[in-house]
Symmetry: C2
Subunit: 209 residues, 2 copies
Amino acid sequence: MPQDDFELIRRTSNQMKYSKGETIYKQGAKSNSLLFLHKGIVKFCYQSTDGRNIITTIVKGPKLLGGANLFFKEINIFSVVALEDCEICHIDTRALRTVAVKHGEYMLAMFDQTLSTFQPAIFNFISLAHKQVYGRIADVLIYLWENIYSDGEYSFNLTRKEISEFAACSHENVINTLSKLNKEGVIALNGRNIEIVDIEKLREISKIG
Amino acid sequence: MPQDDFELIRRTSNQMKYSKGETIYKQGAKSNSLLFLHKGIVKFCYQSTDGRNIITTIVKGPKLLGGANLFFKEINIFSVVALEDCEICHIDTRALRTVAVKHGEYMLAMFDQTLSTFQPAIFNFISLAHKQVYGRIADVLIYLWENIYSDGEYSFNLTRKEISEFAACSHENVINTLSKLNKEGVIALNGRNIEIVDIEKLREISKIG
DNA sequence: CGCGAGCTTGACGTTGTTCAACTAGAGTGG
DNA sequence: CCACTCTAGTTGAACAACGTCAAGCTCGCG
């Protein structure tokens, strides 16, 4: 990328820190920036008219987040909220667009990243469409273990309510299901912390539904 | 676009006709083509391990379908099946990629189209996540009316089973809900044909859930 | 006329939500 | 240092929603 193109991006970008719990994008708000999540974990939430939340996906940096507003659209479809302290770079959409159009390979890379952020969300939704809670919770746990907490850099800190929003069920149901999985020796509960003991069994449960 | 780039695309493309019911892409198969749907209606299906289907979205041409395999990935995540006779152009992924990288504005346009195909699917999933069947069916009907059957070019021809796969419920439940909506005067049933009588009421139902 | 696919209806049992009550830990202020 | 309150977690009971099953129906087609 030529120096002046790079310079345009750099000049219009804006490095920020967010604390755990802070809202980075708010659903419905206008936005003319993309996010590059250097470090940290964020959730994508959707709040419906009746006030219920669902978490569409949870991602960990480093990752480009163009998905909050489905890329070059102006209105944020989802809220993006920090689950851990985050370092985020806001990139001006117009500047990026200008540069990326000139350099198709960057556009392609962005395209790829955006879709890879959404793919798990779509599988999560499919799971939700024809599995019952038992299997959905298994799916959520497997996803989190493989993608978010795999390297031990962060420890599990989702509330029961957040799990329920991810699995699209009531928080009581999450509690019952977790304690059932605990009794069966598939996971080990220790306060808010959840450890997977028998990943194969969990995959089996996910498969059956 | 320079003549030789255009020529590369043209030479590697392949115009096809598909009849109603034919499978264009099969889930799990390798693919190195994108589809341009000139004319017709297709559904995106996902079949899970237990043999159950869900329809993630239904789209009408003209439209670029890069979403079957989430664009430049090789394996089809979904099946694409013709719901009406279709005219489809297969575009070689590698050729397109080569050309599009050189011309970022085409890449951007493709990106945009792909995301716009997925956006309704995501909203459908969200609907599914926290509405009950009554509201979900309302959503499905509204979506179909606004996007597929709006111009009267095609008439409604989904089976009850297909509606149930779109709304992720049992086909009996679709039947009950439709006949309930019929009695309430919101829609008019006439064999397989469904007409929306009171769109405002339907939106109300969709809102409540 | 008979067959099969899709449609319809009702009964029944399971799943999951809602509600209410209770517990535990963390933060606050007297 | 102890009440107080607030939040998160937990449990169980009652109820509604939904899927499954079984039976009968209609229509188009051989």
